[in-house]
């Protein structure tokens, strides 16, 4: 990058036209990367350095406490988050993948209703998460009477990630070359056999990656859960679908707003746990993609 600091060379390069522009463009790219990674490193560093002192067994073995911050833990929030993600995976993934198969393999795109569905799925993906919380509060918790248990929270998160699952699964299915389908059909396989035996196995790495990334989004959501009354203090683990629950982002938010410094350290330690969970899920996604990726 020294070329940019000496005007003489800059002029010389500018005369040629392309190299300077190329260098500038490259500089912009590198700068963007440095900004993005720099902030990530900053967040990681500040949270780890702040939370490390509190990152020990107390955090996952103990329940939250207001009276004794030194003994407080996040066990109920961690199990709450596990329940939420488990239930969200069970509900959102099959529905989303099946919807994607329909849209890609069966739906006739010349029909207006299929185009409307498609357009709306794109729109749904852009809706702020709190709207899903309000929807779940009004319809699922109240009208359907499912209450304020962990199931209602998981349904809200499922609705939230469903469009993302559908969009990423569709892209994965679309990436399977048509020749594979045509070959299978030409050999006399039915459409379902073609999808199940040829298209899906080829698309699975992409579908799995998209699904895990969608779940990673769900794990960090606090807003819809707060609207749903996810409690900030729950001294017990959920044991049924209708039990009150807490979740890591909700617990972290509550601790950060407390006045005592001990809770801020606790929040930092809980953020480290959340980040570790996220990192684990994302690396699983990368691993799956690399392991099963097929090139045509």
């Amino acid at each position: 990058m020294t070329v940019l600091t000496t005007p003489k060379t800059a002029v010389r390069l500018a005369a040629k036209g392309r190299p300077l522009r190329e260098h500038l463009f490259r500089l912009a790219l590198v700068a963007s990367l440095v900004i993005a990674l720099g902030f990530l490193a900053l967040v990681l560093y500040s949270m780890i350095s702040k939370g490390m002192g509190r990152f020990d067994a107390r955090l996952w073995e103990n329940m939250p406490s207001i009276r004794r911050p030194e003994a407080a833990g996040a066990q109920s929030a961690i199990t709450g988050t596990m329940w939420l993600i488990g239930l969200t995976a069970v509900m959102a993934l099959p529905t989303g993948i099946l919807a994607a198969i329909y849209l890609e393999e069966y739906a006739d795109r010349t029909r207006w209703y299929n185009r409307v569905i498609e357009l709306n799925i794109q729109n749904l993906a852009a809706i702020p998460s709190i709207i899903y919380g309000i929807l779940a509060l009004g319809i699922i918790a109240r009208v359907l009477g499912l209450g304020f248990g962990v199931l209602t929270g998981a349904i809200a998160l499922s609705l939230l990630v469903l469009p993302i699952v559908i969009i990423s699964a569709r892209e994965a299915i679309r990436a399977v070359p048509p020749s594979i389908r045509e070959g299978s059909l030409a050999l006399g396989a039915t459409q379902w056999q073609t999808i199940y035996r040829q298209v899906l196995p080829a698309a699975i790495p992409g579908i799995a990656t998209g699904s895990i990334l969608a779940l990673s989004r769900a794990i960090g959501e606090a807003a819809p859960l707060i609207v749903l009354g996810a409690a900030t203090f729950v001294p017990f683990n959920p044991e049924s679908l209708f039990d009150r629950f807490s979740a890591l982002p909700v617990q972290i938010y509550f601790w950060i707003t407390q006045s005592r410094e001990e809770f801020h350290l606790l929040a930092a330690a809980a953020i480290v746990i959340l980040l570790a969970l996220l990192l684990l899920m994302n690396s699983a996604a990368i691993l799956l993609r690399n392991r099963y990726q097929k090139r045509y």
């Binding site: 406490s65 207001i66 009276r67 004794r68 199990t79 596990m82 329940w83 993600i85 488990g86 239930l87 995976a89 069970v90 993934l93 109240r142 209450g147 304020f148 199940y196 035996r197 040829q198 899906l200 196995p201 080829a202 699975i204 799995a208 699904s211 707060i226 609207v227 009354g229 996810a230 409690a231 900030t232 203090f233 729950v234 001294p235 017990f236 683990n237 959920p238 044991e239 039990d243 009150r244 807490s246 509550f254 950060i256 707003t257 407390q258 006045s259 005592r260 410094e261 801020h264 099963y292």
Partner: protein, 327 residues
């Protein structure tokens, strides 16, 4: 099976396994939780109590539960903090047993409760002193009158009162940096009502945050900073901020446990409430919890760093709970 098929089945199985393990993460199912072991005063009760509402009062109910759990470990209380307003909506929909509130119930909330046939009892459980804070380097504003505060915070001040000099010509020409709670907060409702004379009426050009620690940081970071929040946040940050004495016509009074309890810190000392659904009091675990809350109220308040009730208020609370239990 083809390779692809095997892979597909394996992946599907793995996905479900992960989901299942996560779902079962809650550990050994203790189904006996809802059982009643009734009979006798010292009996072990069980059950779940739902509480929601103000984030200012929530920690007090939490502290009450933590002490209660030492005697009744099988009763479980979940405390949400969706705000006083959000909590009342759930309470009047019959979804919670105890509502934490940093202001009294509003008329429209009363109507909502009435239409659902929810009857309730209001209990004053602690006191709070809304504290106006300034930067440590602020040497001029040791004491402000209610009129001066109004001059700073009223809607008409927006864009006009920008310097301390605009508040009082005797003050230096230091830029006024304001911070305060957001409009969803009961603290905001109370402050605007008492200072500006109308609930919710406030200038809007201040940095608003639902997190009081942001207000601490904003005021500590600017020489001309001013903000307000509950007394606990000042107590925890005394080394960073200074509290302003308030003059409501009877001289300057500093916020403290003493002045909030004896009522001399006006108009910014406020009662904190819980609302108990009368119907829920029929459940032995709710009854036991509310009775425990009232009996040990000052121990709970001190423990959770709230300003305890004075003896008159305490007696009132206890008699209210007694008559509620009897009915």
């Amino acid at each position: 099976m083809t390779r692809g098929q095997r892979r597909l089945s394996a992946m599907t199985a793995a996905t479900f396994l992960i989901a299942l393990t996560a779902a079962c993460g809650g550990g050994g199912a203790d189904t006996s939780r809802t059982e009643e072991t009734g009979g006798g005063a010292a009996a072990q009760l069980s059950g779940q109590i739902n509480s929601d509402g103000s984030s200012t009062v929530g920690p007090l109910t939490t502290a009450a539960y933590e002490l209660f759990a030492e005697q009744q470990p099988r009763v479980q209380v979940a405390v949400g903090t969706s705000g006083t307003g959000g909590g009342f909506e759930k309470f009047c929909n019959g979804e919670t047993d105890i509502q934490n509130a940093s202001r009294p119930i509003k008329d429209e909330e009363k109507a909502a409760c009435q239409s659902k046939g929810i009857t309730y009892t209001e209990l004053t459980v602690a006191t709070d002193a809304l504290t106006v804070v300034v930067n440590k380097e602020n040497t001029w504003a040791k004491c402000l009158t209610v009129e001066q505060l109004k001059k700073i915070w009223e809607p008409a001040a927006e864009g006009k009162v920008k310097s301390w000099k605009d508040v009082d010509p005797k003050f230096p020409d230091e830029p006024l940096t304001l911070a305060g709670p957001g409009t969803d907060s009961g603290t905001f409702d109370y402050f605007t009502d008492e200072i500006n004379g109308e609930e919710g009426a406030s200038r809007k050009d201040y940095s608003a945050s639902e997190n009081d620690n942001d207000i601490v940081a904003a005021v500590a970071g600017a020489k001309g900073g001013l903000g307000y929040f509950g007394f606990t946040y000042f107590e925890e940050n005394q080394d960073k901020l200074a509290a302003v004495e308030i003059d409501a016509g009877n001289g300057c009074v500093a916020p403290s446990v003493q002045t909030a309890q004896d009522g001399t810190y006006t108009p910014l000392s406020r009662p904190l409430f819980i609302y108990v659904k009368n119907e829920s009091m029929k459940r032995p675990e709710v009854k036991a919890f509310v009775e425990f809350y009232a009996t040990n109220i000052n121990r709970i308040a001190t423990d959770a760093k709230y300003i305890p009730l004075n003896s008159e208020q305490e007696a009132k609370l206890k008699s209210a709970v007694e008559s509620l239990s009897a009915s």
